[in-house]
Subunit: 140 residues, 2 copies
Amino acid sequence: MIYIGSDHAGFQMKEKLKNYLTKNSYCFEDVGTHSIERCDYPIIAKSLCEKITNDDIGILICGTGIGMSIAANRFKHIRAGLCTTKKQAEMTRRHNNANVLVLQGRDMCYLKNISILKTFLLTSFEGARHEKRVNMLSEI
Amino acid sequence: MIYIGSDHAGFQMKEKLKNYLTKNSYCFEDVGTHSIERCDYPIIAKSLCEKITNDDIGILICGTGIGMSIAANRFKHIRAGLCTTKKQAEMTRRHNNANVLVLQGRDMCYLKNISILKTFLLTSFEGARHEKRVNMLSEI
């Protein structure tokens, strides 16, 4: 399952990404927020991260992506990668086995975020020497 | 105090940033790595984060910046912002009161990282409504 969430600054980007997911037949659940009214990104991040198990994927959006990235990475089962390029999306799946994609809601073209999302969804974890490092992330 | 660290993929960028810090009379301590030989970013991130108290600043660098960002944000006293633009550096200081700047070591121009670092060092936290959200980051 894909879970998607944003604060108010990421709300409009979230709605556009949901259209993309629907058109491409991905199943997803929207954990909020549901309007442009101000809300607190740590609460949205927590709601989403608590739903992620096994092979689930999360998508989180705030203004810069940084607030969501800090909040999501507080959870030891989450590896949240803030991606502003396709290359980062590819590498964070291959090397970090990221299970949450964090995107910028502001100062970022919708089409660029779509191409980052596509790359994230279609790239697999490489394992090997990266496995040890990923395991360390649950232990530190 | 400023603490700076990188894995092997960020080593050369770290050395260039250290030159900048020295030339501009910033005091800093290098927590490693000290060569381009492969090492594990979670270990470097942990060493740096355990040194950060009060008004200290950390700088962490790996290939994409994402591995370091995941690892550093495991620590509840750390707010690590992966910045690929000056605008993100400004906003993560103003809104997230970030105390660790994470930079891309690969696919990033040295001069761009310097301008991101300058912005990060010279921008202050805005407080107000952001204070509540920053406090939540220590509690979730």
